[in-house]
Structure formats: C-alpha cells, structure tokens
C-alpha cells in the first residue's frame, strides 16, 4: 500500500500529531495517510508514549473483560449516584446485612401497621416501641466492622472510617425510616401518633454511636435496645389497653424533648470522638 505514496510527513509534524498540537483537519489528513503509509507509521513510533499506550491497551482490555457491576450497584448508578459512591455503599457484607435488616424491619412495620388499622392501640404501641429497633439494628450492622473481612486494609486508607460508615448507615437508614414512617402514616385515623417513634429512634441510634467509640457496638446496641423495650414494658404494666401510649414517658412531650436532648448530646460526643473509629482497637471499631 505504500508504493504509491507521493509524500511523507516530516518528524516535526509527526511529533506535533502525537502531542495533539495539529489542527483537526491536518490531523485527520495525517491519520488517513498513516493508514496507507508504513514509512510514516515507522516514523511516528519513536514519538509515541509507549508506557501510556500500553496502559491504554490494558485499560481497554480490562473494560472489555470486566464483568458487569452487581445489580444493586447498577440500580444506584441509574439513580444518578457516581460509581465511586455506589461502590462504597454496596461492597461490604456489613452493608448488605444492614440492607436486609432495614427491609425486614420495614416489612415488620407494615405488618404491625396493618394490624393497627384494625384499631388496636396495643398494636400501635407495639409498632412505636419496635420501630426504633430498626435504625438501631442498621447502625449496629453498619458499624460492626469486625465482620468486615477487609477492615484493616480499609482503616489504613486515607478515607476516614467514621465518614465511610456514616455514609453507609445513612444510605440504609433513609429508605428504612421513610418506609417505616409510611407504614404508620397510611393507617387511617391515627393522626400524627404513628411518628412518635422517630425521636426515640434518633436518640437510640446516636447514643449507640457515641458509646461505640468506647465499647463494642453490637453489645451497646443490644443493651440499649433491650433497655428500651424493658422500659416500655414496665411502664405500661397495669395500664388500660386504650391508654398504653400515654403511659410510656418516651411518647409524651417531655420524653420526646428528652430524646432530642439525648440526640444532640450523643451527636456532640460522636463528632468529638470520631477519630476513635480510625483505629482497629477492640471496643473502638468492634
């Protein structure tokens, strides 16, 4: 094919092409010429950044060979989240466990809410006491990094472990809370009562995080969850079935205000102690 070439590009032109300094029309003309001229193809080789080209080729192969991202990750990317965020959200077993917990909790909330629709205040009380356990479980599953096989590698990276865990927890909590809230609010005739669990949930979740900077998060979440349920059970002992909610202080205005105070105080502790999650000591990132 080179026999009929009447011209050849000089070295300056070839170097300018490789460096991307040629105009578009000149570059297009040269490209057409290069396809037909072995002499110029040989002449351009010394200017080609071989390491970069090898890298491009390897990258091309890797793109062709790469299996598709997991379904969950592809779904999140369709929602507009960038790949670097979706990967952080779905990759770890603890994150998947948190998703499962959230879904299970939301389903349980829906079942209880369906019973509430049969106008049983006992069912509503059970729902209000049980619903905060969903976020508590999510926080426990997300922050229990001992179950993360790569945790030591992850902790040694510049990405702050606390921020990473918080992003994962929020990503699971938001849909879980919205679903649970919807499950209560769609029940006819209950007014705003169905949202009374929100502040206790916030208080319990942030208190768990604060204490987890010193103690194993699973133990903390179990103790706080059990204490919450025990306090509710004891409070309503002997109360009339039609007045259970009013008998548990956490659902009265003073209790709700206390939950706000606990949330704020615990959040302050979490912010001050966030560096504790950057280490692998037992009790700090259990």
């Amino acid at each position: 094919m080179t026999a009929h070439q009447t011209w050849h590009a000089d070295a300056d032109v070839l170097a300018a092409y490789v460096a991307g300094r040629l105009g578009r029309s000149t570059a297009a003309s040269l490209e057409a010429h290069l396809l037909a001229c072995a002499s110029c193809r040989a002449g351009i080789a010394p200017f080609a950044p071989s390491e970069q080209l090898a890298g491009n080729l390897a990258l091309l192969h890797s793109r062709i060979d790469a299996p598709p991202a997991p379904r969950t990750e592809r779904f999140l990317q369709r929602l507009g989240l960038p790949e670097r965020i979706t990967r952080l959200l779905v990759v770890t077993p603890s994150a998947r466990l948190a998703w499962l917990l959230a879904v299970a909790g939301a389903v349980a909330a829906a079942v209880i809410a369906a019973d509430v629709s049969a106008s049983s205040q006992r069912a509503m009380f059970t729902f209000l006491v049980g619903a905060p356990l969903v976020p508590l479980g999510v926080v426990s599953a997300t922050f229990a990094t001992r179950s993360d096989p790569a945790r030591e590698v992850v902790v040694a990276t510049p990405t702050p472990a606390f921020g990473l865990l918080l992003v994962r927890a929020v990503a699971v909590l938001v849909p879980a809370v919205v679903l649970t809230l919807l499950a209560a609010l769609v029940v006819p005739g209950q007014g705003g009562e169905g949202a009374l669990w929100l502040l206790p949930a916030l208080g319990l979740a942030t208190a768990t995080l604060a204490l987890a900077s010193w103690l194993p998060v699973r133990a903390v979440s179990w103790v706080l969850g059990a204490a919450w349920v025990a306090a509710a059970t004891i409070s309503v002992r002997g109360a009339p079935r039609t007045d259970l909610i009013e008998h548990y202080v956490a659902f009265r205005p003073v209790g709700q205000a206390a939950m706000v105070a606990i949330t704020l105080a615990a959040a302050a502790v979490v912010v001050l102690r966030r560096d504790a999650f950057d280490l692998i000591d037992a009790g700090r990132t259990p």
């Binding site: 890298g55 390897a58 990258l59 890797s62 793109r63 060979d65 790469a66 299996p67 991202a69 790949e83 670097r84 990967r87 952080l88 990759v91 770890t92 077993p93 993360d148 096989p149 790569a150 945790r151 030591e152 590698v153 992850v154 902790v155 040694a156 990276t157 510049p158 990405t159 702050p160 990473l164 560096d275 950057d278 280490l279 692998i280 000591d281």
Partner: protein
Amino acid sequence: MNSGTTVELDEVTKRYGSTAAVDGISLALERGVTGLLGPNGAGKTTLLRIIATVLAPDRGAVRVLGEDPGRADGRLSIRRRLGYFPQEPGYYANLTAFAFVDYIAILKELTDRQERHHEVTRVLTQVGLDDVMHKRIKALSGGMRRRVILAQALLGRPELLVLDEPASGLDPEQRLRFRETVSAVAEHHTVLLSTHQTDDVSALCQRVVVMDRGRVLHDGAPGALVDHAHGHVWVAAEPDPGARVSWRISSGHYRLIGDPPPGAELVTPALEDAYLLLLGRNTSGADGPVPTPGRA
C-alpha cells in the same frame, strides 16, 4: 529525626492486659528493605499495626514519614503515602480482583475513573495477576489472593510499604516475583517486611530486626547477625543432646546449633542458624533448648 529517616519509634509500648506486646521499642527506619523476624507472639504484628497507623501505642513517641500518627491530620498524611498488607488480609470473595483493588483505590482517594483504572491495572499486572484480574477472588488460589492484597498495597506508589507476612503461602515462583516487586519499590522507598522466612530476609533485606516477647533482640545487617553464629554451627553423624537445635540434613548427617564439642566439624552458619541461636539464648539462657518450629 534524620532527613532520611521514614519511621522513628521512641520507647513505644503497647499492652494487652498484663502482657506487653511491644515493650519499650526504639527504632529508626530508612529507605530500603528492613526485615522483621521473630516467633509467633513476638509483637511483630502489633509493631507493624502501630507503624501502619491502625493501632495507637499506650506509651512512647511515633513519627512516620515525618508525621505524628496520633494526630488526625498526621494520620491522614501518612495514610496517603502508605501501603499496608495486614497479617490477616481480608477481601470480599465475591468481587473480582479488579473490583476489590478498585474499591481500595477509591478509598485511597483515586477518584478519577480512568486514572484509577490505569493504576489498578498497573498494580495487578505488577503482581502478575493481569490474566485473572476479572475473576472473582473466591475462584483464585491462596497465593493469588495474597497477591491481590499485595496489589492494593502498591496503589499510588507508596513511600512506605508495611508488609506483614506477605509471602506465606506463595509458591517458589511467586516468591521470586514477590522479591522482585518489593526490591523495585525499595529502590526509592521504605519497606518494612515481617516474615518467618529467613531466606526472604537474606535475599531482600539490607537490615534485619529480630523481636521476641515485645523487645528487640537484634538490629543490624543480616551479615552481622550471621557473624554471631560463627563457631556455633556444626555437622555430626549423631545428634548431640547438648545442642540447642539439631536436625537431619539430606546427606544423612545432623546439623547442630549451640556450643560445639571440641573437634566438631564447624560449618558456615546461615541466617536461619543465627536467628535460632539468638532466640534460644533469649528464651532460656546459655544452656537451654531453643524452640524448633517444624524441625528437630
């Protein structure tokens, strides 16, 4: 801290209950490969975790790459320039090797997708996994899985590479490739390598630190450690109850370490002989037996 010093420890102590895993260690590391030898429970992993910033000491001062890992900003600066291979290198078995290293690259702040994928491809190629990078980790052999973890440690061409027993489970060819990789990194940077393999230390390390029960027993060139064993290694037709260690070698004779009897056929000691001799002295004084892991 000298300008060439990348890691400096001053009287560093870390206790677990009543046991001092690291007991008042002072150490300064510079460019090149430093080997860390010691029996199980010697405190090597605790020391490496402190240097890798994932564990805080109870006492003592630590400087890594000129920064204080006890401060959040210092820790961040170190982690941006650190490669770490932990003793228990976990991974997500359902991910491909590429996806796992890509995930760690995201955590190492390589946010540009194209640059990141270039870098991930580079490190996986460097450890010899270019052909299997898109296989799930659970489908890879044990040696390949360890190389995946080594690959993530090499991301971003770290100034300090902390490797905790990275070569265990590698076959001879993989081990040679591992040595090639580590020595290439150590031309310009600092590598701290914990191992049970004295042949890796002989082949790679300009310096060897021997630890036992949280303390440093030896710190110097491998040759200097070997020098201590001259006159303490001999071969004989029968085992000698007075030897600290003895084992049968391929010729059918016994290789013995300790204080030789008069007229013994002394041989040139290897690093392993010197290491066992040193551990034996530390464990039980001049006359006691030395632990003989896997031999006798």
